[in-house]
């Protein structure tokens, strides 16, 4: 293992400390329990948007803390969900009187830890809602698995919901918007190489020199298929078509009933893409793939979308939701309506995303 680390057990903390030194105007960090929060928190009267997850996906989530996006981010150990005390302390630190939205990627650990955090926040009198992101079309089956994983749409949801909260939406409105973003977003990734978790020291999975994994998860979970490597155009086509031609997907998720203070099961279905849709497209590096290669992918994606009658109205090309040093790419398409586009275009100032201010 060759990495720029001192001791594996200090990796997450030292990375957070570096962030705090780099961005004192935007954010602060709290250690033990660990969370990153807006320098000007709590913002009175504004819904606080909080996310979190295992470390190793930077800039997500800490790099999205700042004006117009997240109020706080809770980083766990590398690829391990953070714990409820982190989320609860973060919620208390940024709650400005209008409640807290937890944006949760659909992984068993994340879901359970954020559910416990919501219960703690509710008991403390903080209005709270949990919205799941489960957009990974590589997972076809929700009945015999833990469901679709949360991937690229998370980044877009955090931007859009952060802007909506900034604009004065109340908790229910921000939560409804977040749910709608999730139902309109789809993502799929692929890996050319594995990645190495510092505490483990060896690659998470084995992939031959001439092999790739299509549909990889952001922690190296297996995807749809392992196969011989193909050209960038062929890979882009496999990912893009899997997303664009993905049929309606129905799942049952748990949401918090704020009135009754209990979990309720909600059935949600998203609709497939269709000709005429306007989309926000993200071509994302898994960490080790250079920007030049991402543009080769974006070139082909642009052509495919045109052919399929989808108009890319906004885009992001870069490393936004990564898997340590893994080489590979993920494509996310979000069908965007006027409301989403308005909040997409709204000013944002975070370490990793900045425009309009």
């Amino acid at each position: 293992m060759k990495k720029l680390i001192n001791k594996p057990e200090n990796f997450v903390r030292e990375s957070l400390e570096g962030m705090a030194y780099a961005h004192p105007d935007l954010l602060k960090i709290h250690l033990d329990p660990n969370f990153v929060y807006r320098a000007d928190a709590p913002v009175q009267g504004k819904v606080a948007v909080i996310s979190g997850g295992g470390s190793g996906h930077e800039p997500m989530h800490g790099g999205f803390v700042g004006k117009g996006m997240l109020d706080a981010a809770c980083p766990g150990e590398v690829f391990t969900s953070p714990t409820p005390d982190q989320m609860f302390e973060a919620a208390k630190a940024v709650h400005g009187g209008a409640g807290v939205l937890f944006i949760v990627k659909n992984y068993t650990g994340d879901v359970m830890n954020f559910e416990m955090a919501a219960e703690l926040a509710h008991a403390e009198g903080i209005p709270v809602q949990n919205i799941l992101i489960d957009d990974d079309v590589a997972v076809k089956d929700s009945l015999y698995t833990a469901g679709r994983r949360g991937t690229g749409t998370t980044v877009l949801a955090e931007k859009i919901c952060g802007a909506a909260a900034e604009a004065g939406y109340d908790l229910k409105q921000v939560a409804d918007l977040c749910r709608r973003v999730n139902l309109n977003g789809r993502c799929m990734g692929m890996a050319l190489t594995s990645c190495t978790v510092p505490a483990k020291g060896t690659p998470t999975f084995d992939l031959g020199d001439d092999e790739m994994e299509i549909g990889i998860g952001i922690h190296g979970e297996p995807g749809r298929e392992r196969m011989k490597i193909k050209s960038a155009d062929e890979i882009t086509e496999m990912l893009a078509l899997a997303i664009i031609e993905d049929p309606a997907y129905t799942r049952t998720v748990r949401e918090w009933d704020m009135e009754k203070g209990e979990w309720v099961e909600v059935e949600l279905t998203d609709e497939p893409f269709k000709e005429g849709d306007r989309v926000i497209a993200m071509v994302n590096s898994m960490g080790g793939t250079p920007v030049s290669e991402l543009y080769v992918v974006y070139r082909k994606l642009h052509e495919i979308c045109e052919k399929k009658g989808l108009t890319i109205v906004r885009n992001l090309v870069g490393a936004y939701i990564t898997s340590l040093e893994m080489q590979g790419v993920s494509i996310t398409l979000l069908r965007a309506d006027d409301e989403m586009l308005r909040f997409w275009d709204a000013p944002v100032h975070t370490p990793a995303l900045r425009w309009g201010m």
């Binding site: 329990p33 295992g54 766990g76 150990e77 690829f79 391990t80 969900s81 953070p82 714990t83 409820p84 005390d85 992984y107 068993t108 650990g109 359970m112 830890n113 559910e115 416990m116 997972v139 089956d141 015999y144 698995t145 833990a146 994983r149 978790v197 505490a199 483990k200 998470t204 998860g217 922690h219 190296g220 979970e221 297996p222």
Partner: protein, 212 residues
């Protein structure tokens, strides 16, 4: 035969030792079908428990177990944190205020703990999770106690049932957690959560058996 507070504390210390010894083993099992952190996470969690124990050793068994649960919830992360945290929290709540446990108390404790895990994780027997070790263990323990067996005999049967349940996860297709994404590829691997559950129960048996 009763289980004393002192034995509960020694059990928790033994669990910390056992999980440290099995850190690599559990992580290796997890690498095959999960994300290769179960051993590391459980070891970190019980190290935190060890740090908390001196503060609560003079309190009742319920408080000791609840403190254990809170320590795990705040340090393990992943799915193991909420699941084992809930297990120990519910176990503690079931025996609040007690300084020693009768066999019937242990049945109540185990049932509350296992119910808590099932509620939190929504898993059933056969899903290839810790529930596959815990549910048979609870049933075997309860049956033995109802038949008038002593705690150590009942625990012996519970541990045997947990071991069988753990091994039964090998041919199973995972339906929960990260392993579920492997589909057919999850078959042939022993579930790490069922394994840590077995190790924790085995540590209780070994503690009860050793001279006071």
């Amino acid at each position: 035969m009763i289980v004393t507070k002192d034995q509960i504390v020694r059990w928790l210390r033994r669990v910390a030792d056992v999980l440290e010894e099995n850190k690599e083993y559990l992580t290796k099992l997890d690498a095959a079908i999960g994300d290769a952190d179960h051993g590391i996470n459980m070891d970190r969690g019980f190290k935190r428990v060890l740090g908390q124990l001196p503060k609560v050793e003079d309190k009742d068994i319920g408080s000791i177990l609840k403190t254990t649960g809170m320590a795990l919830i705040s340090s393990v992360g992943g799915a193991g944190g909420p699941l084992y945290g809930t297990l120990f929290m519910r176990a503690g709540m079931a025996v609040d205020g007690k300084q020693e446990l009768t066999p019937e108390d242990l049945v109540t404790l185990l049932r509350a703990a296992v119910d808590g895990v099932i509620q939190r994780g929504k898993a059933e027997v056969g899903d290839k999770t810790m529930v596959d070790a815990l549910v048979p263990a609870l049933q075997a323990f309860q049956k033995a106690v109802e038949a008038g067996e002593s705690v150590d005999i009942a625990l012996e049967r519970a541990v045997a049932a947990a071991e069988e349940g753990m091994k039964a996860t090998i041919p199973m297709l995972a339906k929960k957690g990260r392993a579920s994404y492997l589909g057919e590829r999850s078959i042939g691997h022993q579930d790490p959560g069922a394994t840590s559950s077995y190790l924790i129960l085995k540590a209780l048996l070994d503690t009860v058996r050793e001279a006071p």
